[in-house]
Amino acid sequence: MSEGSMLHGQQKQAGIPALLAKARFGVVVRPPYYRWNGERFESERLVGVDSSSIASLSGSIEVVVEGDFVGVVADSLALATDAAKQLKVEWQAVHQAPESDSDQAPCESPLVKPSPSYTHSNHGYGWPSRMRWGHHPSWVIADCRDQQLSVWGQTVTPAALKQDLSRLTALDISQIELYSADGEHSSNQASGLGRHCGDDAAVDAALMSQAVGGLVAVWLDARYAKDAQALGQAQRITLNADIASSGEIARYHYQQANLTGEVAAVGLLLSGRATITTSSAEATAGEQDTTPFSPYVFRAQYLAARSQPASLSTNSTLMGIQQTFARESFLDEVARESDQDPVALRLRHLDDARGIELIESVAKRAEWQRASNPSANSLPQDLLRGRGFAYSQLPDRNQRVESGVRSAWIADVEVNRVTGDVQLTRLVVGQDVGADVDTDRLQQTLQARVLGEARPLLGQAPSFDEWGDGSRTLTEREDSAGLPTTAPSSSPVEEGANKTVGEDVLTGAELSPGVAVIANALFDATGLRFRQPPFTANRVRQALEASSIEKAGRPSKLKPPRSMNRRWLAAAAFTTIAGTAAVAWPWKGAIAPVSRPAANLYSAETIERGRLVAAAGDCAACHTTEGGVTNAGGRGFETPFGTLYSTNITPDEATGIGQWSYAAFERAMRHGISRDGSHLYPAFPYTAFAKTSDADLQALYAYLMAQPPVETEKNVNALTFPFSVRSLMAGWNTLYHDPKPFEPDPMQSELYNRGAYLAEGLGHCSACHSPRNAMGAEKNGESYLAGAFVDGWEAPPLNTLSRAPIPWSETSLYDYLRHGESELHGVASGPMAPVVAGLAELPEYDVRAIAHYVAAQMQAPTGNSDAAVADATQRVTSAAVGSTEMEAGERLFEGACAACHADSGVPTFSRASTNLALNTNLHSDHPDNVIQSILGGVHAEHVPGIGSMPGFADSFNNTQVADLTTYLRARFAPDKAPWQQVKQRSAELRQPHHNNSHSSP
């Protein structure tokens, strides 16, 4: 350890929480178009920024412009976000190069003409510029003052980040310090498989900090996935070979696009300080090509790597990983195409006794036997199993390859063809020199980094149906397979060798063949070749689906995973119903019952994801009776058409959904048709659930099937004719149901799309908050989320018709949904209380997304403006004294309510925290929720910290309820017209099925 780092190690800095108090907040405004095209960065040019467009916002706001970089710095994140949204920025479009498939794996290179006597193989491999947007949502803070730059945040590539920051600020590397969120010095060692957007956020923060001369905090979350997408591919490696009929590789050609694939941070590229050399003639000249190392020997070989433009930084570790991935994937492909054993092919071209010995030892240890594809028949039908091999040779400490480390890997994977989940079940690694390899940790690391944690690794294809924010326990998986992992060492282990320490640091030597070995095992399992990491469940599932559609009709190793689904769609038979009715509806057949899937069929991750899906969909709220067993059904619902009972959705074979195949489950969720072919009523919000993504439905199925089965008695619905005829629902569906899955709006942010997906689909907000027509179908268009009445409660409008006295903001919506309470609006109660309790299961990002989406429907601002807060204070002050004109109401209020709802100058723990003058219900057009609260009280069970109010149904008669309600309206909503017929409404709401009072134990 050098002297310098010793010093830094002791000098612990303040962590992010302490810094936030001193920081200002920055939000960037990216150009509408910017991307890394593989060689250089292109973006729209900044023409001008109209600062007057944000003059209406109160508070101190600074606009930072540097080249094409635009950022806004303000005293709160909400204000900065609002300003960034409002700021008018004019961009000049540049000539856009035709969209290449940079997100896809690179296509085959047409470079070499095939020669007739040889079979020819030619493939390209890619590496993303950003593996993902980050580990978890977090703050990134920069302090750039007095020739010194400190950055707090998350990075896995500190050297590259320092290089970017140095170029950005013109400071020397030694003047730049990186700290982790808790103020510890960041390690200088790169870990993992390349950069993530933590670096982009850090550069954004540093640039803005330098401009405003103080601490600037930037919020890093999935919104940065946009940068990951724009930066596309950092590396392309094209390989081709001629293979003789003997199976020998006669000619081998390796072409690497860049010396190393590491793209600078977006902020640096936009600022123009990156000094990009364009790919002009001088830069592309052949003499600058270097020759990468290959451990194999071929009769004729050509290896070249083009030197990188200046906007790429150098990371030899990452380069090694990329090269090994491409080479080892390619050799595996050649072996498959020429029908050879992949290990034998390598041995054939290896002229290195130590390497050969190592590979043979590892192959023996792992019982490498190509022919025996492990007992495919005994596998559960949805599981595919495969095995892959990869080898690498890396230079030693003095950069000598010959005496370097040889490393041979064999990995076994299991792929769930329904969900795309890949489990690395076994890993055998042999390394002939150096410290013992900790295969357990390697396995975990690879599982997380290459195959996907819940969220971060989906970074390459950010998606609206990702779950978890990465900070949860999703990655802490027990290795269910329980297979041994071994690490043979054919040479004596160097004593006292530097073991890699630190939980997040893995050296390139260890990771380098790891990506290839998984790609090769995946191919063995699925027959699909993945030519660019990461191999997340999402990508694997999409590829499996695409291939099953392609292969439909001809026999394949792969059974189409969703064949059942297509079969019933195609087999629509016609019949007539309801006597003389002349209209014919497609008849839905039953889907054959299956025995309950084994509980261990799905991975812990999938089941955990399913648990979150169930929480977002709040299944248990309807499918559980009060005090009953979760999801066992039986809860009654009063509708204008009669009483409906929820069903048992535990996997009991007789009374639950134990015999439902996934196809049957999916049909119910998307089309409202039960397994036996009968129609379900839209009290079950399949109209909303239809929008759920396949992956989420599959996870939900996995979760429900993994729960304990509960046997129940079936309740018989009591519907009035003709609504009791289930098949009539077919007509209703034709008229009102659109089973299309959710489509994200490309014009909107990822956060918005995530919120829309949750709110429109699983969250089924509109089921309560949109009015329904006479046929019980939700109205759309202007009536979407326009408010409605459910079970005697008003579900207030969630669009611009909101009557809240202080307009809702995104911040207030988030507080309400996350904590059950917004101090400017009140607490969640009535049927909304269990919804908030259910949302407590969801990660913060998801709740923010819902708040963001609803705020957009309301056209609400991000934060609460000073004006809104002042208005609130003014309303509270003017309602502090009651009117004396309504004596009866006043007396009731003073006697029953004031102890908790008025300020007597005594600090009170049990007081209502939101002043009634701000209560949305008192400002509504309808008195229903106020009457409900008086009669039944306010109970937000399972939402901690929310007080509870007793019901007064037994102490007040309808006249008293009306007097009190009228008084409350006059005192606390003086700007609204008095409600009419309050007494009558009180009497109606006392009817048993509307009454929300329930006896406390």
Binding site: S904, V906, P950, F952
Partner: protein, 162 residues
């Protein structure tokens, strides 16, 4: 499910439904009979206790709401054998007829003094406005509260550490 409560400085673990009113738990499970059951609707104040030094009406408060907070009942108000100055003041002023409301009166005055050591006579009246007494002992109660201000100030003087 068990709940962990801190009551009168003691950790208590209780297996009770989380929605049970705190009053029921205090009286029935812990035999702390200082707080009284009055109206059951949070109107009269007889059930008051201190939570984190603030007044709280326990007949309407689910026991789960008290988890993680310091609950002090009338029973736990005296310190080391010494009555709390507010208790002493109510004895000195003989401010009881039937005495049922006195728990709430004492707790409310205690909460007021925790927040404001020198309340005016009007502030005392406002503070006690929502504590009901049905015997008509209001004059004595107000005298007791005013004496409590003086006794409390004396105690603070002795131990000026807040």
């Amino acid at each position: 499910m068990t709940l962990k409560l801190t009551i009168n400085g003691q950790e208590r673990e209780l297996a009770v439904p989380p929605q049970t009113p705190l009053l029921n738990v205090l009286r029935n499970d812990l035999a702390l009979n200082g707080p009284k059951y009055g109206c059951g609707l949070g109107e009269c104040g007889a059930c008051s206790v201190l939570i984190n030094g603030m007044a709280a009406r326990t007949c309407v408060l689910p026991v789960s709401a008290a988890v993680g907070h310091e609950v002090t009942t009338l029973d736990g108000l005296s310190q080391g054998g010494e009555l709390d100055p507010v208790q002493q003041a109510f004895i000195d002023a003989q401010a009881a007829q039937c005495g049922y409301c006195l728990n709430g009166m004492i707790i409310t005055v205690r909460a007021l003094l925790n927040h404001n050591t020198q309340p005016s006579a009007q502030q005392i009246r406002t503070a006690l406005e929502h504590n009901l007494c049905r015997c008509g002992t209001h004059v004595e109660i107000l005298q007791a509260a005013e004496r409590a201000v003086i006794l409390n100030a004396a105690v603070l003087q002795e131990a000026p550490h807040e």
